[in-house]
Point group: C2
Chain length 194, copies 2
């Protein structure tokens, strides 16, 4: 039996789910509180900064959730190119299983935050940097030179993000599966570190 979640955790998970689907602005506080089975008072108790402070916590939660999927995929193969392709397959399966709704937890909010909500924008940038670090470490562990691994990690995350969005819009795994295959080919084109 799992321990029931406290109010604070329910608020964070609900905000993360709603923001994954529609971003920050289209997530009304009323709906958020209702779906979290919480009260407006409890939201301001745990998050004195209100919806925006809760949103920052929700981005950090989404960051960790996505990092877990990444880490799982990256650890599932010995070869680093195959490992990155495995991540794309995991994401494609999770997306299909969620009726194409559970995409990247950060993308929608990140776009809204640019130049408008610096705290949220910073939380999104931290998440992206975290995911890149996981990929970079996996590529260097797989034998790639440090600089190539650092640059490739940026493009691996960009490509997975863009492919996830495309897969959602056309309700098809194809963009993610192609992204995985092409990223693996790109990674294989780099010589291992001497």
């Amino acid at each position: 039996m799992s321990t029931p979640l406290g109010t604070r955790d329910r608020l964070i998970r609900t905000a993360s789910r709603l923001m994954t689907h529609g971003g920050y602005e289209s997530t009304p506080v009323k709906q958020l509180v209702k779906e979290a089975e919480a009260t407006l008072g409890s939201l301001y108790h745990f998050f004195p900064g209100g919806k925006q402070e809760l949103a920052v916590a929700a981005i950090a939660f989404g960051d960790e959730e996505f990092a877990e999927v990444l880490a799982l995929g990256l650890a599932s193969r010995t070869d680093p190119a195959e490992a990155v392709e495995a991540v794309a397959v995991l994401l494609a399966d999770a997306l299909r299983d969620s009726a194409w709704l559970d995409g990247c937890p950060v993308t929608a909010t990140a776009l809204e935050s640019v130049g408008r909500m610096p705290d949220l924008q910073a939380a999104c940038a931290v998440a992206v940097a975290n995911w890149r670090r996981l990929v970079r470490e996996r590529l260097t562990a797989g034998g790639l030179p440090e600089e190539d691994a650092r640059d490739l990690a940026v493009t691996v995350i960009s490509t997975l993000e863009g492919a996830e969005m495309a897969a959602q819009v056309e309700q098809s795994q194809t963009p993610l599966l192609l992204a995985g295959r092409h990223l693996a080919r790109l990674i294989r084109s780099y010589a291992p570190a001497p």
Copy 2:
């Protein structure tokens, strides 16, 4: 001297700009009408379906605008790999010159539309398919086999979209410039059609 835009065009351009920045939900009709120097009456005159019908027209407008940048970059080099890299550079410059605001005109709205607003989702899917076609045609014209070009075009657009988002969030051209370099390398790894 350019002819002043009519009310319908002003509504579409304003909606496209606001939706590029924050998506559909966070674009209030009031703000839209005010910034377009129009009236609510004129919005419903030109778009009897209201905000959502206007949004579909705005996505089609953003589709064409983005396609023009794509076509410009793709035509700027003889080599197809260099041509795709040139697109990434164009996007990186346009993004910096707009204070990181003018990203992809479709991404934010696309994510909101999934499973919620089928007309908008379809318009976004049409835009993505249009951009892929431009890349696919350029790659086959550059000598790549038809099937490779079709698959690569999907990943080129996914990668540019994801890199654009990353560039916006961290206010840096680097993700787009790396995406361009990596996509060129990937394209070069394919043998020309016999």
